[in-house]
Symmetry: C2
Subunit: 244 residues, 2 copies
C-alpha cells in the first residue's frame, strides 16, 4: 500500500535533494535559525542571503545547496516562528474557550515577532507548525456534528480576523515609532510627519464623523483589550453556526 516515509520527521516543502548526505556542515535548520535570529533582531528586511551566510561563517552561495530561493528561507522562518505558538496539547471540550485561547496565542506570537504577521499573510499555511495549529483548531471543533467544510469556515473566519487585526496593530505601532535613526533625542515622531496633513483633513470638513472620532477617542488605546473585545464579538457570531 505505497509505504510512505515514517512519521517522525516532516521536511517542509523539500523532498530530499541529498540522498545519503551524512556530511554537510550547513543545514536547513541552521539556516533557518540564523535567519530567524536576524529577523527578530533587525527586522525581516535585514534578512539577506549574504547576511545569513555571514552569520553562519559560510559562503553566500553555499546556502543555495540547502534552499532553493530566499523565499523558501522566509517560508522556513515563518513556520519556525509559528512553532512558538503556545497552545495546549489537546482540546478541552469547550470549543469556544479553546479557539479564544488559540487566537490569543497567535496574536502573542505575532507580536513577539513583529515581522511575522506580514510575512505569514502572503503564503499558504502548510508548514508543519501551521498545520499543527490548524489541526488543533479542527480538533477543538470535532465531534460537534459540524461538516468539515463548515469547521474550516469557522477557523478561516477566526484566522482572517486575527491576522488582519495584528497586521494593523503592528503596522500602527511601527508607524508611531520614529523612523529608527541612531539614538535621536525623541524629536520627529509620527506627529510631526502626519499632523499637518491630518489637520488639513479635519479642517476640510469633509469627514465630520472621523473628526469626532479623532477628537473623542482615546489616543493610545489598550490594543490588547480591544483585541479581546473584538475576538469575543467574532466568536459570538460563530457560535450561532456551531451546534450545541
Amino acid at each position: 500500500m505505497a509505504a510512505r516515509p515514517p512519521a517522525e520527521e516532516i521536511i517542509w516543502m523539500r523532498p530530499d535533494r541529498s540522498r545519503p548526505a551524512p556530511r554537510a556542515a550547513l543545514s536547513r535548520e541552521q539556516i533557518a535559525a540564523a535567519a530567524l535570529a536576524v529577523a527578530d533582531a533587525e527586522g525581516v528586511d535585514a534578512v539577506t542571503m549574504r547576511r545569513i551566510a555571514r552569520e553562519l561563517g559560510s559562503g553566500t552561495m553555499s546556502l543555495y545547496r540547502h534552499v532553493r530561493t530566499k523565499d523558501e528561507v522566509i517560508d522556513l522562518i515563518v513556520d519556525a516562528a509559528l512553532g512558538e505558538e503556545d497552545r495546549p496539547a489537546g482540546p478541552s471540550g469547550d470549543w469556544r474557550a479553546d479557539l479564544h485561547r488559540l487566537a490569543e496565542a497567535k496574536r502573542a506570537v505575532m507580536l513577539r515577532h513583529p515581522w511575522l504577521a506580514r510575512a505569514a499573510a502572503g503564503r499558504p499555511a502548510l508548514g508543519p507548525n501551521a498545520l499543527a495549529s490548524t489541526e488543533y483548531a479542527l480538533a477543538a471543533l470535532a465531534g460537534r456534528g459540524l461538516a468539515m467544510e463548515e469547521a474550516a469556515r469557522v477557523i478561516n473566519t477566526l484566522n482572517a480576523f486575527v491576522t488582519g487585526f495584528v497586521q494593523t496593530e503592528v503596522e500602527e505601532a511601527a508607524w508611531r515609532r520614529p523612523p529608527e535613526e541612531e539614538g535621536d533625542g525623541g524629536g520627529g515622531d509620527w506627529r510631526e510627519r502626519t499632523l499637518p496633513y491630518l489637520q488639513q483633513v479635519l479642517d476640510s470638513g469633509r469627514f465630520p464623523h472621523f473628526t469626532r472620532l479623532v477628537n473623542e477617542a482615546e489616543p493610545y488605546p489598550d490594543t490588547g483589550e480591544a483585541f479581546a473585545w473584538q475576538l469575543r464579538r467574532v466568536l459570538d457570531g460563530l457560535a450561532a453556526a456551531v451546534p450545541e
Copy 2:
C-alpha cells in the same frame, strides 16, 4: 482662527513643496496613474521607479521631484485603488446592510487589484479615499448611541476580517496558478509542486482532522459564498454590540 486651506483639494501626505509651481510637465497624479496601470497589468513588483519613468517618457530621477520615495508612490496607488470602492453616497439607515455592502465593495476592489490587499495591509489608512470609506462606515453607525470608540471597534473588526480574508484568498489563488512562465501548456501547477509534500504530511498520521478536511472538503470552494457566510457571522457578533 488660523484659516486653513479651503476644503476643495486634499493633498495626500504632501504639504506643497513647490510654492507657485504652475508649470511642471510631470505631476503626482500622472505618476500615480502610471504606477497604478503597471501594478494592475503586471503586479506590484513590476512597479519600479525606472518603469514608471519609462511609461511616462521621462527620466527616472525626475519622479523624485514630485514624490519623496517609492513608498510614497505605493501610498498613492493604494489610495487611488481604494477610490474605486463602490459605495452609496450616504447611509441608508440600516447599518448592518450598509456595512455588509461596504465589506463586499472592499473585497471587490481588492480582487480587482490583487496586489492591493497586501499593499494596503502594511500602511496606515489615512489617504483621502481610505478616509472616505471610514467616514461612510462611521456614518452608517451614527445616531445609534454608540460611543465613538465602540463604533471604531466595530469597524476595525470588520476591516480586520475583510483584509485578512481577501489576503489569503488572493494568495491562494496565486499559489494555484503556475509560476507564470510564458504560455506553458498547463503542466506543472500547484499539484506538482505541493502534492508530494502534502501526501507526506497526510501519511504521517499526525494530522488526522486535517486529513479528513482535505479528503472531504470541496477542492474548489466558492470563495464568494464563503466570504458572504463568514461576513454574516461576523456581523452577527457585532450586532450584539450595536443598540437597537
